[in-house]
């Protein structure tokens, strides 16, 4: 069975990739997906630790995170839809009318 830090390492990599996705992509939806990726990285860490400690709390956490993620998706996508309605675009770089 692979040692704990393999899994943590993997989750860190996932987290970083997600982070980079947020920083690099301009399509709001893709950014949002990257965020989901980051959530998953966290989940993976939770599960791994939970297994390591033989402790349910981690898994519970993941369960709730999933639901929250679902909720956020609903709201987020709704938001993007409305924005797309008014702007005909979800390029976050064009959404910068307020600055300074």
């Amino acid at each position: 069975m692979a040692p704990l830090y393999y899994y943590i390492g993997l989750s860190v990599i996932m987290f970083t990739i997600g982070m980079l996705g947020v920083l690099l992509r301009r399509n709001a939806i893709v950014i949002f997906m990257s965020l989901e990726l980051m959530f998953n990285a966290a989940n993976l860490a939770f599960i791994a630790f939970s297994r390591h400690y033989q402790n349910m709390n981690g898994q519970m956490f993941v369960f709730f995170v999933m639901t929250v993620a679902a909720a956020e998706v609903a709201v987020g996508l709704a938001l993007m839809v409305t924005i797309f309605r008014t702007r005909r675009s979800i390029d976050v770089d064009q959404i910068n009318s307020m600055k300074g």
Partner: protein, 661 residues
């Protein structure tokens, strides 16, 4: 606590009144003067100073009985920690002498002024100021009395600055006149500021005194003085000397006095000849023990006096304004006195002070009468309504200066009384026996002969020049033929003016009797205060020389100015006369060395430095913040990804800190 019975002679209890009579007069005039008119005003003022004179006489009589100094406590003035200064009145022969001079001569001048100002205010077209004049005048008597009756240096200083103020007010009495309208005001300011420079010296002297002797009372200080460290005394005395040069118009601070002639003539007579300017001499005499203790300081005083005497006399030669001549002559005579007290001949100094008060007041007043005559003549000319062809060069009448001796001449026929008294005064000034000036000056020369021959020479030379410009003045004013229509039409002044002149003339004539070589009346009188010095005996040859010098000077004057002339004869001496005439460019020098630099500095500070530098630095912080705000605002560029980037930056730096710590 006004009248205290703790005093030997009840008369002494009266002493505060020498201050309060003038005060009463002042207040009365201030409150009712305008309503009750000139006669009332004049009378009140005269009575006020007259009453002061009466009190002084009573005090003198009291002292004659028991001549030892008396202090009449009046009120506690300042008391902080170990510092205390009370307003007490000091009655001793010295102060009483001054009181007599001040109030006596003062009263006469008051009488004279009642009439003179009547004419003057009308001539200058503002009768309203008649009252103001006498208010100032009473104020002056008041301040002068405070000065001479003070029992400590602080009260003396109060009077000292008080008279300075009066001089300021009276010089600027016609504040809208003078060269391009502001001249008189500027002269007044000059007088005050220059005096302040002197006062600075006196102030610091007082500080040193207090921290050295723990008190400012004359008795305490003078008692402690001989024992004190010579260094301290030297500082004190030299600083005092600075004060003296300011108040008594000695080198280097004499420059204000000539300009002070902008004031009405009675002012010049009372303040700038008879009384105020002699305060310096009084101060030195008062502080005699201190000066005696430091020969160096004495020498300094002596030299300052002697040089001033000569220097001013030379300038007097070059003046054409009748009052300017007298002004420089005053400076020169003050030089004699200062030199005298510097030599330790305090009696001689005081003696000359008194006689000078008589004859110089006389001279100024009669000069005033001359001026009145000239003005009257000029106005008469206006009445005639046409100028004389041959005087076209005078320009129109407005341009004619009633004080310029070149416009006079032959007045002895027009104004005989004035001429006679003026003659007496001039001869006394020149030092012709047996007039008062002769004796007093002689005593100074004697003292000089004892102490230092160079000084003696200087003083004799000064005496010669004195006699010479006196002669010149007499010739220009009273002899020869009238040089202007105004002079032709000049008329004798009324009794109210001439009577005081006559009285003063008598005093100037017989004033010498005060301290005749035989009697030494004044000497013995002042000894009670100044301590015994060896009486100045009468050295015949010296007296002869002095008299000879005087006569020679007068003769020269007659010789040069006896026949009419177009150009000033002395101009043949070329640059020398220009130097005399331009007062050795002293004013210009001061302007270049003091006034202009100060203006420059303050202009720089007010402009570039204060508003430019300091303020910029102060506001700089604000500007900086506003800049930063702009720069940092750029980061807030509206791009979500930049914001996310900043978050990551934060995260990463925290993690780095935690990892590398």
């Amino acid at each position: 606590m006004l009248f205290q019975e703790t005093i030997a002679n009840p008369a002494f209890g009266l002493v505060p009144w020498v201050v309060f009579f003038p005060l009463v007069g002042l207040v009365l005039n201030l409150l009712f003067g305008r309503r009750l008119g000139e006669v009332f005003t004049g009378t009140v003022a005269v009575l006020a100073s007259g009453a002061a004179f009466v009190v002084s006489v009573l005090l003198a009589l009291g002292l004659a009985a028991h001549p030892e100094p008396v202090v009449v406590p009046f009120l506690e003035w300042l008391r902080i920690g170990d510092f205390a200064a009370n307003w007490d009145f000091r009655v001793d022969t010295l102060s009483v002498t001054m009181m007599l001079v001040v109030s006596g001569v003062g009263t006469l001048i008051h009488i004279y002024a009642t009439r003179y100002m009547h004419a003057d205010v009308r001539h200058n077209g503002d009768p309203g100021r008649y009252r103001r004049f006498f208010v100032y005048f009473s104020l002056f008597i008041l301040a002068m009395m405070i000065l001479v009756t003070a029992n400590n240096y602080l009260m003396l200083f109060v009077g000292w600055e008080g008279v300075g103020l009066c001089s300021y007010l009276l010089i600027g009495f016609w504040f809208e006149k003078g060269e391009d309208g502001i001249g008189n005001a500027k002269a007044a300011k000059k007088a005050f500021v220059v005096n302040r420079i002197g006062d600075f010296g006196l102030l610091v002297a007082m500080f040193t005194m207090f921290w050295a002797f723990g008190s400012l009372d004359f008795d305490a200080v003078l008692a402690a003085a001989p024992a004190a460290a010579p260094g301290v005394l030297l500082v004190i005395t030299l600083l005092m000397l600075l004060g003296v040069t300011g108040k008594s118009a000695q080198i280097p601070l004499f420059v204000w006095l000539p300009d002070a002639m902008a004031g009405p003539t009675p002012v010049s007579a009372l303040i700038h000849a008879a009384t105020m300017v002699t305060a310096g001499v009084y101060l030195v005499a008062r502080s005699a023990p201190m000066f005696n203790a430091v020969p160096a300081a004495q020498a300094a005083v002596m030299w300052v006096g002697a040089i001033t005497a000569l220097f001013a006399a030379t300038i007097a030669l070059g003046q054409n304004d009748i009052k300017k001549v007298l002004a420089y002559s005053t400076i020169s005579q003050l030089g004699f006195m200062v030199a005298a007290v510097g030599m330790g001949a305090y009696v001689a100094g005081m003696f000359h002070l008194i006689t000078h008060a008589f004859f110089k007041a006389l001279l100024f007043l009669s000069a005033g009468s001359v001026i009145l005559g000239m003005e009257h003549g000029e106005e008469a000319g206006h009445a005639k309504g046409h100028g004389h062809a041959e005087h076209a060069d005078q320009g129109d009448h407005g341009g004619l200066d009633p004080q310029d001796m070149r416009n006079m001449g032959g007045l002895r026929r027009r104004m005989p009384v004035t001429f006679l008294v003026y003659l007496v005064g001039s001869l006394a000034l020149a030092g012709v026996a047996p007039l008062s000036g002769f004796f007093s000056k002689d005593e100074i020369l004697v003292a000089a002969s004892r102490s230092n021959f160079i000084v003696l020479g200087v003083l004799l030379l000064a005496a010669f020049f004195t006699a010479f410009y006196v002669g010149r003045q007499l010739m220009l004013v009273f002899f020869g033929r009238e040089r202007t229509p105004a002079a032709e039409r000049a008329v004798e002044s009324p009794a109210l003016i001439t009577v005081p002149l006559i009285v003063l003339a008598l005093l100037a004539a017989v004033g010498g009797a005060l301290n005749l070589p035989g009697s030494h009346l004044l000497e013995t009188w002042l000894e009670h205060t100044l301590g015994a010095g060896e009486p100045a005996e009468f050295i015949l040859p010296l007296a002869g020389v002095a008299l000879g010098v005087a006569l020679l000077g007068l003769f020269l004057g007659w010789l040069i100015y006896r026949r009419p002339f177009q150009r000033e004869p002395l101009e043949r001496t070329g640059p020398l006369f220009r130097a005399f005439n331009r007062k050795w460019w002293v004013d210009e020098a001061y302007h270049a060395l003091v006034v202009r630099p100060y203006n420059g500095i303050s202009r720089f500070l007010a402009g570039d430095f204060d508003m430019g530098f300091i303020d910029t630095v102060a506001n700089g912080a604000g500007v900086l913040v506003r800049r930063l705000s702009g720069w940092w605002g750029v980061l807030q560029n509206g791009f979500v990804r930049t914001y996310a980037l900043m978050v990551v930056v934060g995260v990463v730096s925290i993690m780095l800190y935690l990892a590398l710590r």
